[in-house]
Amino acid sequence: MSSEWPLYFTHRESIEGKGYLAQVNMQGRVLVARENRSDSDLPAWVFYGVQPSSLSAEAESVPAAFALFRERLKDILFSIADDARDFDEFHAAVSAFFAETDSDTDVWVRRAAEVRAGQTVQEMAVSRLPRRVAHEVEPTCSVVNVSAESYRPSPENNVASQIFQTTAA
């Protein structure tokens, strides 16, 4: 029985940079694992980033780990804004950060194939998550300069932070 599950997430963050305000919208992938710890009776829930890959977060429940994951993501975006000279540089750096991969990508792909082939998810903390078919949650990262005169705010742009499981085709 698997103790790691391929999930999708959505998240939006507002970042102030040097002379601009940016909205970063991510629809990404994470590998969520339930791991035992030698110094704790409770299992740890770990979000290993897949897209973006260069971050992780751990807590005692899936919602708590996802909250910490979003905080880590925000910290990294703040750091990118600290270094970027202007919006174009920030945009390029965030896009590059989102595109980085590591070995967790291969694990995510294998686990997703197992789920789509019909393997059931036994772990309740994961099985009760909302489901999406793959084409509804293709990984994307958009970086918009909302301080530009051409930007038109709209409630249609609001994005809730959520996690989803993949589903059989």
């Binding site: 710890r37 030698s38 770990v46 290993y48």
Partner: protein
């Protein structure tokens, strides 16, 4: 195999000396940017007073090792 929840930052630096010779680190906000062979990872320390006494989630160190492609060397050094 099970692992500890946290490792001390000093242990991480020692392991990187062995597994990522020539690596660089830069302290920014609440993390250290570790770079090795043109790959970087922001290792989260969390808010604290004494940076060098920080405890790091083992899972974050493991993720870093995957990003830097040194997991086969680093994880056995820090695991129990």
């Amino acid at each position: 195999m099970t692992y500890r929840t946290f490792v001390h930052l000093a242990e991480v630096w020692e392991a990187l000396e062995r597994c990522a010779p020539g690596y660089s680190k830069r302290h920014t906000r609440d993390h250290f940017r570790v770079t090795y062979q043109n790959r970087s990872y922001d290792l989260s320390c969390g808010p604290h007073g004494d940076v060098e006494r920080a405890k790091i989630f083992f899972s974050d160190v493991r993720k870093m090792s995957r990003r830097l492609q040194i997991q086969d060397c680093l994880i056995p050094l820090l695991g129990e």
